[in-house]
């Protein structure tokens, strides 16, 4: 991990991602917050590519930007009377305090630990990842697919309106 390009990319990505995440927190408009969230996801995909996880970076864009963000947009549009503001509850300050403390602790741990960093950059190709998923990690992989199916069925059941349930011949 050296070279001007990588360093430059890291700092640009850091700037973009953190500003976007702050935007999610501070933006007054819920739609703007969603768009900032998408920017966060894109920045995160950039990090993934930087960390030599090409496939995961692309999957991040495909899934988070292409699917999850769109789902969030849908949910925002489907709840029109709920208001499009992105305000905070009165727990904002306590939450901020708590998270600040947590951040301080984590940062202390990060700097204090002596990480056993290997000199050789450890990477794995998409093919290698696929093989691992279908050999060593095959059980969680199958479980994940079951989970996705259950989530699909569950969310369809949740959003069905009463009229549609009545129409259903069963």
């Amino acid at each position: 991990m050296d070279g001007f390009g990588v360093t430059f990319a890291f700092w640009v990505l850091t700037g973009v991602t953190l500003v976007a995440a702050l935007g999610v927190l501070l933006s007054r408009n819920l739609l703007h917050a969603v768009l900032f969230l998408i920017l966060t996801f894109v920045g995160m995909a950039g990090y993934f590519v930087l960390l030599s996880a090409d496939f995961l970076g692309m999957a991040q864009v495909l899934i988070y930007v292409g699917a999850i963000a769109v789902l969030v947009l849908f949910a925002v549009l489907l709840t029109p009377r709920a208001g499009r503001d992105n305000g905070e509850t009165r727990m904002f300050l306590p939450a901020l305090l708590l998270c600040g403390t947590l951040l301080a602790v984590i940062l202390f741990v990060i700097t204090d630990t002596n990480w056993a960093v290997s000199e050789e950059p450890a990477t794995v190709s998409a093919a290698g990842l696929g093989e691992a998923l279908l050999s060593r990690w095959v059980l969680p992989f199958e479980l994940a697919s079951v989970l996705l199916t259950v989530a699909l069925v569950g969310s369809i059941m949740l959003v069905r309106s009463r009229e549609e349930e009545a129409e259903d011949p069963r």
């Binding site: 549009l77 489907l78 029109p80 009377r81 309106s161 549609e164």
Partner: protein, 369 residues
């Protein structure tokens, strides 16, 4: 989306300036997602009070007004009006005049149906290709009108007691050439659209009207025939010698937008047949009887109707022996056909509403008069 995702109903104004309202016409629809729950028509943007204006002009002076009601079928409108006045005043028309009237009315039907078919397919989203093809053929019909009457759109050609001018010499060969080409063109449009799955998916089952509903809504023309009712004024109450010509009434199956479309296509074929026969048997003699310019028909009333391209085009004229009509009322087919719009659109999607509006084939000049 429709039906799957519920959202707040909100009002959408389709028109007055909208690419698919065929003029300045507005539908206020209340939509829930994409599904229409209520529709209200707003019209009158083009109201010119023709019925009032006609009461101040002589009978002959009123003919240009009828051009401007349904500006896509001016010949048919002229014909309906002069028939009403002739019925009122008891004026006969020479055979040649009648034959020329039939030729013109049928050519006008072809031109108007070209426009209707093209605009309808444009509304289903065929990106202007069918409409340009239809315009290509319509131009040739309009060329014939220009040749005969000097005008392409608002012809002002029919006169009380006949027609304004006799046919020019080059009219017959040009018309025969057009008639030779038209069946091929209709087959071409049919080949482009009737077997097209997307077109079928967009039009079959959209805007369904049963025969009872269609009758009860006072519909006429292709709307009525699309619902399976064999009713054509040319057959039922022949005027201008239509009984001499051999043609058939095309009717639809279940009264959806697609049926109206194929009925229009078939009507164009029948019109070609009629013009062919009329040209073959074109009698000689005068094209018009002499009628005084300031005509004063006897007191009374007359209701004459013709089968216009959009349906029953009626003219109700009341005379008080004055030089101008005492009361002049137009029965505009597309105005009355519109009354079934709400019936056809509610429950469908916005895209369906546009298709239904296209299948009614409205002309706003006729709705608002």
């Amino acid at each position: 989306m429709s039906g799957i995702i519920k959202s707040e109903p909100f009002t959408l104004n389709i028109g007055p300036q909208h690419p698919s309202t065929h003029g300045v016409f507005r539908i206020k629809v209340k939509v829930d997602g994409e599904r229409i729950v209520d529709a209200e028509m707003v019209m009158g943007y083009l109201h010119r009070a023709m019925e009032k204006l006609a009461e101040e002009r002589t009978y002959t002076q009123n003919i240009p007004f009828t051009d401007r009601t349904d500006y896509l079928a001016s010949m048919s409108n002229n014909l309906g009006y002069v028939l009403a006045v002739e019925k009122l005043a008891g004026i006969g028309v020479p055979d040649r005049g009648n034959a020329i009237r039939v030729i013109m009315a049928e050519l006008q039907r072809i031109a108007s149906h070209c426009m209707a078919v093209g605009a309808f397919t444009n509304d289903t989203g065929a990106w202007q290709t069918p409409v340009m093809w239809c315009f290509r053929e319509r131009e040739r019909v309009l060329d014939l009108f220009e040749m005969t009457s000097g005008a392409r759109l608002t012809c002002n050609y029919m006169r009380i007691g006949g027609v304004a001018f006799d046919l020019p010499r080059e009219f017959e060969p040009a018309t025969r050439k057009l008639l030779a080409d038209l069946p091929g063109f209709i087959d071409e449009i049919e080949g482009l659209l009737v077997g097209n799955e997307i077109f079928l998916a967009r039009t079959r089952g959209v805007g369904m009207l049963s025969a009872e509903t269609a009758t009860n809504f006072s519909l006429s023309g292709p709307m009525l025939r699309g619902s399976g009712i064999a009713w054509d004024i040319r057959k039922a109450d022949p005027y201008c010698g239509y009984e001499k010509y051999d043609f058939q009434i095309p009717i639809g199956y279940q009264g959806d937008a697609f049926d109206r479309f194929i009925v229009r296509l078939e009507e164009m074929r029948q019109s070609v047949k009629i013009v062919q026969q009329a040209l073959d048997a074109l009698p000689g003699g005068p094209h018009s009887t002499h009628v005084p310019l300031a005509l004063r028909p006897p007191a009374g009333e007359a209701y004459a109707r013709v089968e216009g391209p959009r349906g029953e085009l009626g003219y109700y004229v009341v005379s008080d022996e004055g030089p101008s009509p005492y009361r002049f009322h137009i029965r505009p087919p597309s105005f009355i056909n519109l009354s079934a719009l709400k019936e056809m659109t509610v429950g469908g999607t916005v895209a369906d509403a546009i298709v239904v509006l296209g299948s009614i084939d409205i002309v706003v000049g006729e709705i608002d008069r």
